[in-house]
């Protein structure tokens, strides 16, 4: 199967994600069948070997995340794809990737939970899990696509950010976006970022990050005698599990490198920036919200593409301008708490919430009645 030609195509969200990953230079994929992410695994089973990469179906999701971290240390771009229960199993390895600063991409197609829940239906109930799922203080980058197009574009971004910051990066898709079929414009060329190799003279996007926050990557087999461990370690890689200073410095740095780069990592869309009533939403929850904002110029929309690190600056800027904010998401209240925290801090107390449960993305009829009652 040849690469899709640049230009307009008709494609499924999961397939667009797969093609985005290949365009970004994916060379190793480990997957385990799970709805609604399986199409990614299936497509890569024949697409990746064609492109000279390695496809592996592992025995479970613990093995998937472990295998991609191993592959990344061999110096290649690596990815896995999963959903709900599989993402829970991967938390151990995500923490390891964060601690060892391994660039990997995890596609998480959110479905209804808890537990087995709704394998074929959408939800956004794992956005906090994406940030807090593994034990300890760490950061990840998480991006939420909103369309077939973004399933491609943000997968490329996920690889670039992961390489630049040496951090596990999660594409937080959902069943609605993943199985949506629609228009996609395959770009003729894309900009790629490759990790900064230790002792390399090469210059590129990744080299713009200060060494102090993102150390260069010591690929295995390149003579670095790398020392990679999930234990508390110093800059040389030596373990120091009982050294307070080493632990503090390490944990601060792996958090700071992401939190201090919010501006660089934040991706978002704004519709009607001067509106006094604002919707904040993301992923498939923003589908109807965007229609509303396009039809009514009095309603603004801040659609987050970056979920973590939270684009605080943009949320604060909306809270400064708007009289009221409506958060629309498919869970019992996750992003809304973050928005409240920020909005309250600048005196905007009117934060309302549409909590859509059940597995279908919110429609206009779910949003408009709440919006009508809001101050604007």
């Amino acid at each position: 199967m040849p690469d899709p030609k640049p230009g307009i195509e008709f494609m499924q969200g999961n397939d667009a994600c797969t093609e985005g990953a290949l365009a970004a230079g994916l060379k190793f994929f480990a997957g385990y069948p799970i709805t609604p992410s399986t199409e990614i695994t299936e497509r890569l089973a024949y697409r990746l070997p064609e492109k000279g990469g390695v496809f592996m179906q592992m025995e479970d999701e613990l093995a998937c995340i472990s295998a991609i971290v191993g592959a990344s240390w061999a110096g290649v771009k690596a990815m896995t794809a999963t959903s709900g229960p599989g993402f829970s199993l991967m938390q151990e390895g995500i923490g390891y990737a964060a601690m060892t600063e391994t660039p990997v991409v995890i596609v998480h197609v959110m479905r209804g939970g808890p537990s087995t829940g709704q394998p074929t239906m959408a939800s956004q109930a794992d956005i906090m899990q994406a940030k807090w799922g593994s034990h300890g203080d760490y950061q990840v980058i998480a991006l939420a696509p909103f369309s077939v197009q973004e399933s491609y574009d943000l997968t490329v971004e996920a690889f670039n950010l992961s390489e630049k910051y040496r951090v596990p990066t999660i594409l937080l898709s959902d069943a609605e976006i993943a199985h949506m079929r629609g228009r996609i414009d395959i770009p003729a060329r894309i900009d790629l970022v490759d990790r900064k190799e230790l002792c390399s003279e090469k210059r590129g996007e990744a080299y713009k990050v200060p060494d102090k926050l993102v150390p260069p990557f010591a690929t295995f087999g390149h003579g670095h005698r790398s020392f990679v461990t999930g234990m508390t370690h110093n800059a040389e890689g030596d373990i120091a599990p009982e050294d307070e200073k080493v632990q503090e410095e390490l944990v601060r740095r792996i958090n700071d490198k992401i939190l201090k780069s919010q501006k660089d990592i934040s991706r978002f869309e704004i519709v009607n920036p001067d509106a006094k009533k604002f919707i904040i939403s993301y992923g498939s929850s923003a589908l109807a919200a965007k229609d509303i904002a396009i039809e009514d110029e009095k309603v603004g929309l801040l659609r987050l593409k970056t979920i973590w690190p939270l684009p605080e600056e943009q949320i604060l800027s909306v809270a400064h301008r708007a009289r009221s904010i409506l958060v629309v998401e498919m869970n019992k209240g996750q992003m809304v708490r973050e928005v409240q925290r920020l909005a309250y801090s600048v005196g905007c107390k009117a934060v309302r919430f549409v909590s859509k449960l059940g597995g279908e993305a919110p429609r206009k009829k779910d949003i408009l009645p709440v919006l009508k009652k809001m101050e604007g």
């Binding site: 480990a30 592992m58 472990s66 191993g70 390891y96 790398s226």
Partner: protein, 274 residues
Amino acid sequence: MAVQFEEFFRVDRFPHVFCPGCGIGVVMNCFYRAFNDSGLNLKDTVFTGGIGCSSRVPMYINGDMLHTTHGRAIPFATGLKLANPKLKVVIFAGDGDIGAIGGNHLINGCRRNVDLTVICINNNTYGMTGGQMSTTTPHGYLSTTSPDGNPEYPFDLSKLAAAAGANYVARWTVRHVHELVKSMGKALQKRGFAFVEVASTCPTGFGRRNNMGDPVQQLEWLKSMSVRKEKMDEEEIDQMDLNLQGLISVGEFVDRDRPSLQDILSSKKSKVKP
């Protein structure tokens, strides 16, 4: 060309964490000899392990090191090896790491016949955490979590690896140093999954609670309990009951040359893309 001891080991990291009388020192010494005889290059070798005393061995070897999560060294190594087949990947693992939390990865690694060399140091206990029962603690033996004797039956890890499809499987005790060096050497040269189990000693965690607190006592125990595989076969001892009778069969269990996963993937690639 022989690698000097000081060059092979990260001597700057010594003293190591292992207790006096621990069998790991013997394993490291045997491995050093086997590696030196193998003609392999440290620069192109990655040493990996999970969590536990045995998984600490790679920290003292001067190659690239990936110290992973508990039980998962095999899938980490699988990704690493397939992503760069030029690398030699060696795993050091304990019985707790590879026989319990990583048991699924062990059997699937063997089944896939990935090009990996696994040195499994079986000391019948969780040493790092202070001597709890493991999946290889003999039936009836004492540990901090089996104060009345282990009510469960142990795994025979080598038989498990053999049945699951590994290309090379051997087991020796830390008393069988010559055989061990030879088997480690074979394992390092083998294409496909190679598994060398070493019945080892843990005087601190295991021996002490089972009237073998003196390292020599535990070595004597290993001597009296180990029986050559050939003799086991002759005497028709139920080999699946390893350790039930206190016996440890030693020898080479499997030495075959099924195509490794890498061999199969490479030949497939050439078929797809001329």
